[in-house]
């Protein structure tokens, strides 16, 4: 057996993705996936992240732009009450509400609004983990951080998603679109999109909450266009050859320095502010206290911070998240 064949076979056999995504067979060195016939686009998972709210409202009214052959694409506002109030959430963060406990809890009006909503969404687009679940869900988000266009991956072994993200990155080049992978056992959370076999998060910033910026809106629109193009090509039988995808792998959450009462006592340092994805080296400035002192990063090596100064994360004790750069190999894929 040649080295090349050995390498590809190792890649192909390592395809233990989330339940429901095991390829039917693997021959000709391609991982096989079912056609992605049912796709959803979620907006308003956070009611004040305006690009997704606006795009989904547009497409609910007129879906021509998101139609593709052989695909049913459903635009959907996940948190209508939060959208109406232009607030992140009403009772609790919907994008943390899709835990197994919440989804299996007995239904009732006494449950927080977003937990009820999660159960409803699970009925429509799931059930999570079952063969009936939607094939792909795109969940549209904005951030106050300077992250540019970011695709969020939940599994390093989802070769379908890896190939889609590779396709999108190449399609929008030279504009940049980076991939954030959150597979951390403690930091990973139960997102609305996690119901699907292939969950894809879209995060575009910087944009203040409650504000619609046309450049950010257009950027998100273009990414979705390419994502749907990929699905159409895949469903028509196109084979996508093996590829590598650079990802930023979440490894640690860093909180603001706080006093004994839990109050923030320092801000993201001006040298770090807006420097998402740039290397942070040991000794580099990290925070600045309100009276002007610098607090330095003391980690063991160079890391890549992101979600720097996201408004919604002050209450989640997160000033930024630390990632490490990795290259993943995606096997060739084609439809079964």
């Amino acid at each position: 057996m040649s080295c090349a064949t050995q390498r590809v076979l190792r890649t192909v056999t390592d395809l233990s993705g989330p339940a429901g995504t095991l390829p039917m067979s693997s021959y000709n060195n391609s991982a096989r996936f079912n056609e992605a016939r049912r796709v959803a686009i979620f907006g308003g998972t956070h009611g004040n992240e305006m690009s997704g709210v606006t795009l989904v409202n547009l497409w609910v009214k007129n879906s021509a732009e998101i139609q593709r052959k052989r695909v049913e694409t459903k635009p959907f506002i996940t948190n209508p009450k939060a959208v109406e109030k232009c607030t992140r959430y009403v009772d609790t963060d919907l994008n943390r509400a899709f835990s197994p406990e919440n989804l299996s809890a007995p239904e009732g009006d006494d449950l927080p609004y977003e937990v009820q909503r999660a159960q409803e969404i699970n009925r429509i687009f799931g059930p999570k983990g079952s063969p009936e679940a939607y094939d792909v869900i795109f969940d549209l988000h904005n951030t106050t951080s300077n992250m540019g266009c970011t695709l969020i991956l939940e599994s390093s072994k989802d070769h379908f998603n890896l190939q889609m993200m590779n396709y999108i990155k190449k399609a929008i080049a030279p504009a940049s679109c980076l991939v954030l992978l959150n597979e951390h056992p403690l930091l990973k959370y139960s997102t609305s999109r996690s119901i699907a076999k292939h969950p894809v998060g879209l995060e575009v910033g910087p944009q203040p909450q409650g504000v619609l910026r046309s450049n950010i809106f257009e950027a998100m629109r273009v990414i979705l266009k390419h994502a749907l193009d990929f699905i159409e090509l895949f469903n028509e039988g196109m084979e996508f050859p093996p590829c590598t995808v650079e990802v930023f792998w979440v490894s640690e959450r860093i909180d603001y320095p706080r006093d004994a009462n839990g109050n923030i006592i320092a801000m993201v340092h001006p040298n770090l502010q807006d420097c998402d994805w740039e290397p942070l080296n040991p000794g580099d400035p990290m925070f600045q206290t309100f009276d002007g002192k610098t607090i330095h990063y003391q980690g063991p090596g160079t890391v890549y911070p992101t979600f720097i100064n996201e408004a919604a994360y002050y209450e989640k004790q997160q000033a930024f998240v630390i990632t490490r750069r990795e290259t993943l190999v995606a096997s060739a894929i084609r439809k079964a």
């Binding site: 944009q207 504000v211 910026r213 046309s214 450049n215 801000m267 993201v268 408004a311």
Partner: protein, 314 residues
């Protein structure tokens, strides 16, 4: 106005610095919290004759600050009309209507001789307005002289309306915090110099006076906006907007142009909090205002003035 004439104005004995009038505009919230940790009273270095001005630090809307929201029931910064401040307090009133009366008792009463002399109210905006002073009259020589002093003291672009942007609500950006901190310090320095008898030379300032507000184009049925600020207008606060310049971009990509007859200066472009007020941007005329030389009345002058008022009232 005679060039050499010095206008004598009342001393500024009581000054208030207010943060958190909107609970999610965090520069002012954190700055006032920091300043409250330090002493309130501003001491003069010398002259026994000069009474020190007292500086009150106030967190205007503590409940909104606690929740990191603009307001709890209603916008506090719209609750200080005479109508809002008069009338009985009821527990059923919106929180901010109760609070404005409390603040009026603390810092006012509005329109009375007991009211503080100067209020410096700290805000942030999601618009790209740099450091802005908002004044209420183009004859408010005190405010306009403070503006001139700030302009000379800072490298951040300053305009006459303390808005410092852009900053998302709910976020504190260190550069903006620092700019606001220095801005407040400069204001208090100016007050100290003024009270000690410094003559501030006359000159000219450019002021922007609101002409009108413009809303987003909206869907007649749902009221939802149907266009966003055009990318060529976004972040161009205080740059002239001329007839036929791009104004909005619809979601289908069409450009909507400014149809006014005269060039005006846009500001508060895409301020988050103004969507609900039906304001996509405000438009102003720019004009040059001549400032006289000013100085604070001396102690004896001040007392004579007050007695004069008292006898007039009798």
């Amino acid at each position: 106005m005679e060039v050499d004439k010095v206008v004598h104005l009342p001393r500024l004995s009581r000054v208030a610095v207010c943060g958190g009038t909107h609970g999610n505009e965090l520069s002012g919230v954190y700055l006032v919290k920091e300043l409250l940790k330090a002493k309130n009273v501003m001491k003069e270095d010398n002259d026994d004759e000069e009474r020190p001005a007292s500086v009150l630090m106030v967190l205007s809307n503590p409940w909104a600050v606690q929740q990191c929201r603009r307001y709890v029931n209603t916008d506090l910064n719209r609750c200080f009309t005479h109508a809002a401040l008069s009338g009985p307090v009821s527990k059923k009133d919106p929180y901010e209507m109760i609070r404005s009366k409390e603040l009026n008792a603390l810092l006012g009463p509005k329109g009375s001789p007991e009211a503080v002399d100067l209020v410096c109210d700290l805000h942030n905006t999601t618009s790209n307005m740099g450091l802005c002073l908002v004044a209420y009259s183009d004859c408010d020589w005190i405010c306009l002289h403070i503006f001139r002093y700030l302009q000379a003291s800072t490298t951040v672009p300053t305009r006459s309306t303390m808005e410092i942007g852009p900053q998302p609500h709910g976020v504190v950006r260190s550069n903006i915090y620092t700019t606001m901190k220095h801005g407040v310090q400069h204001v208090l320095d100016w007050v100290r110099f003024y009270n000690s008898g410094t003559v501030f030379e006359g000159g000219f300032v450019d002021v922007y006076t609101t002409v009108k507000n413009m809303d987003y184009p909206r869907d007649s049925e749902t009221g939802n906006i149907t266009a966003a600020i055009h990318p060529q207008l976004q972040d161009r606060d205080f740059c002239p907007l001329r007839p036929e310049d791009p104004l909005f971009q619809t979601f289908s990509g069409e450009t909507l142009r400014y149809k006014g007859k005269e060039p005006l200066y846009p500001f508060f472009i895409n301020e988050c909090a103004y969507y609900e007020k039906g304001i996509a941007l405000s438009l102003a005329r720019k004009r040059r205002v001549a400032l006289p030389r000013i100085r604070a009345r001396a102690e004896q002058e001040q007392q004579a003035n007050e007695q004069g008022f008292a006898s007039e009232e009798e």
